[in-house]
Amino acid sequence: MKRFAPVPRPWGWQKHVLNCGRAWLKVAANLSAERPRDLWSPYRDRLAAGFGELCGYTVMWTPNGTVDHHVPWVMVKGTAKADLAYQWSNLRYSDGWFNSARGSTDVPDPYTVSDDWFELLLPSLELVATASVPASEVDRVNAALRWLGKDGRVIKKRHALWLAYRSLDPDGTPGMSFAQIERWAPLIARALRNNAKFLHPADRARLLAGTL
């Protein structure tokens, strides 16, 4: 995982979502509903753009991710914090499969996580926790690594991105440039910076020159 800057609340959210959502929550029967009324989906693209179309958890480009409630409804329904369902600050952009697999599992927050808690190993592409994880976050980190570590879904995509960078076009340039890998898979780019032997020679030279 990596830390994302919080996405600014979009115009219209207060009127169309927060206020309407709070009104919905005032109906007593709704407090124990299985799921809150979906008012946020029209803003999915705004959230995606704020995350650079990167899944907040797998940290890879995903053009059709879902709206993830970081604190899920099941944890707040019927409580004073029920309106977290309609708080923009509680939303994260997430791959659909991760959102579904995670369910209500408590995982680290992309807005507060530290970059040095995780390391992507090369060439296995497995994500592991580092010794920098504070004791208070260990359970959450381990829970997330159940899927983000070496789950087939995440590994396949990492591998495809890795191969795209490592392969060479007929003209000798990488199939995917370092700038592109940095944009679409920042964790792989970070791992490449830390393991320069896997960089293409030109990129390695730029790294040494401080221009990569």
Partner: protein, 517 residues
């Protein structure tokens, strides 16, 4: 074992030759191509009975049209004068149904030929298949065979056959229960409905005290009886087979029998599970199918041993298992281990017996389950395919596919792939779009644009939410093709699909005018 099966004008087949392997023979193919049909025919070849509906001769519209005036003699003897032949079609006289199988023994047995030919001919008058007496084309194991002995059922290399059918019923045939001669083969066949295998079956028999004899005690009664006898051999075998056939998540462990319904005075076997004791009658459909198969394997084998002992015969060396859709009711995690487990279970209770297994499946998990055990010299994989108005069987080299998606994309499953049909169409469109950028690849982008109309479109952008006049149709037509392809992919392909990495480079160049030719 059954070494070869030849069919002519039977069921959906005009001509078919199948050579079988000595251990596992798997059939795949689309619905209606005859997988179950082949299992039914194999059962008939071995037992001269039908486990369900018998099969009928192949039929064509031309022949059906001739039924009113073509005589059975003309048809049966093939002496038709051809006057009924349709234009380029098939004459009734051309239809000559026949079934032929070659059975071989694994080891030479005294008085037994080492190869037997079974032939079946269709009798038009009685609308039945008639099996010819044994024909032995090859030498025997050095013994002179008295002609009269050739009809003896004990000469059959297949002495025990178990058939797990698609409707939950089972059939068992045991040569020890014949009286000699083909006529008595039917007496050795036992077809059990899904109810009878649980509750047992009795038949009228004036020679038995009380006028009724027990055909099978049934899972409920036999299980309890075996269990209450302490560590009986049957119960120990059942316990081991259940363990072998278990789901990876929950071993099948017998618990103490219990009462369930107030007015049902039977003790019902139970399973001791991680979430409590579950009476077998209340277990899930998948567990019940596994229990029934485990019980029947143990029951059939122990009854065979008992009968062989009473007849002063050596138990059989060969067992044939026919299992239609072993994946039925099973979770994929269970499908992934079930078939090899059946082979292991047979090896546990009858270690010196060679098992030949025939199975038909629609499940890529079943194929995946065989990857670690499949051996070219012991096992065979057939794909049934349509060939004009008949069916053909293509033997496939069993190559490891690695995962279920690859199996689905393989020829074994017709290349159907693991994605949704819409996702495949979107990928095809994207591939065509990418190829169209190559000067050498002339593509009809107008046709591509048309194909995209068939695919789901994205929701209207947020800016149009308050403007109902902005219809999707209107905005779609004005959008660049690259965006429409991207939109189709977004709507159909999950974010973690590896195809995105192929597409992302094209998508990233969308500001380049050459991207949208």
């Amino acid at each position: 074992m059954i070494r070869r099966l030849t069919l002519k004008d039977v069921g959906p087949i005009r001509e078919l030759l199948l050579s079988f392997a000595s251990r596992v023979n798997v059939f795949t193919g689309n619905n209606g191509l005859g997988k179950t049909f082949i299992l039914d025919v194999l059962w008939w070849v071995l037992t001269t009975t039908w486990a369900g509906e018998k099969v009928f001769p192949w039929r064509s519209p031309e022949v059906d049209a001739l039924d009113k005036w073509q005589t059975s003699d003309d048809i049966g003897s093939g002496r038709g004068d051809g006057s009924g032949r349709g234009d380029g079609g098939v004459s009734a006289a051309d239809v000559d149904p026949g079934i032929e199988a070659i059975l071989t023994a694994r080891e030479a047995q005294a008085l037994a030929p080492d190869e037997l030919v079974v032939r079946g001919a269709w009798r038009w008058e009685s609308q039945e298949w008639v099996r010819t007496p044994w024909a032995h084309d090859r030498k025997t194991a050095g013994h002179v065979i008295a002609p009269g002995l050739l009809d003896e059922a004990r000469l059959s290399p297949q002495s025990l056959v178990i058939y797990a059918r698609i409707d939950g019923s089972y059939a068992v045939w045991d040569a020890c229960f014949t009286q000699g001669g083909l006529d008595s083969f039917a007496e050795a066949a036992l077809v059990l409905s899904s109810t009878e295998i649980w509750d047992g079956k009795e038949e009228s028999d004036p020679q038995v005290a009380g006028g009724k004899r027990t055909v099978i005690g049934g899972l409920i009664a036999d299980w309890v009886s075996w269990q209450q006898r302490g560590r009986s051999a049957e119960f120990e075998a059942l316990r081991r087979v259940l363990h072998a056939l278990s789901s990876p998540d929950e071993p099948l462990v017998p618990g103490a029998p219990t009462r369930v319904h107030l007015r049902d005075r039977r003790d019902i076997p139970t399973l001791a599970t991680s979430f409590g004791v579950v009476p077998v009658t209340l277990a899930s459909a998948g567990i019940r199918r596994a229990l029934a198969l485990a019980y029947l394997i143990v029951w059939a084998w122990t009854e065979h041993l008992q009968a062989a002992k009473q007849r002063r015969q050596r138990p059989t060396q060969d067992v044939v298992l026919l299992i239609d859709e072993p994946e039925l009711h099973l979770h994929p995690a269970w499908q992934r281990v079930f078939l090899p487990a059946v082979l292991r279970a047979m090896g546990m209770i009858a270690p010196n017996v060679a098992v030949q297994l025939f199975t038909a499946t629609h499940s890529p998990m079943v194929l995946a389950s065989l990857e670690s055990v499949f051996r070219d010299e012991l096992d065979r994989l057939y794909v049934l395919e349509r060939d004009g108005r008949s069916i053909c069987a293509n033997e496939q080299t069993f190559g490891k596919e690695g995962d279920v998606s690859n199996w689905l994309a393989s020829e074994v499953f017709g290349g159907v792939g693991g994605r949704s049909r819409e996702a495949e169409l979107a990928i095809d469109a994207a591939m065509d779009f990418m190829a169209a950028r190559e000067p050498a690849a002339e593509r009809n982008l107008a046709a591509l644009s048309e194909r995209l109309r068939e695919l789901p479109r994205s929701e209207p952008p947020l800016s149009s939410l308050d403007d109902p006049s902005t219809t999707e149709e209107h905005s779609d037509a004005a959008r660049p093709l690259v965006e429409r392809v991207h939109d189709a992919l977004k709507r159909t392909l999950p974010g973690h699909d590896a195809f995105w990495i192929q597409w992302i480079l094209t998508w990233d160049r969308r500001s380049d005018p050459s991207v949208d030719p």
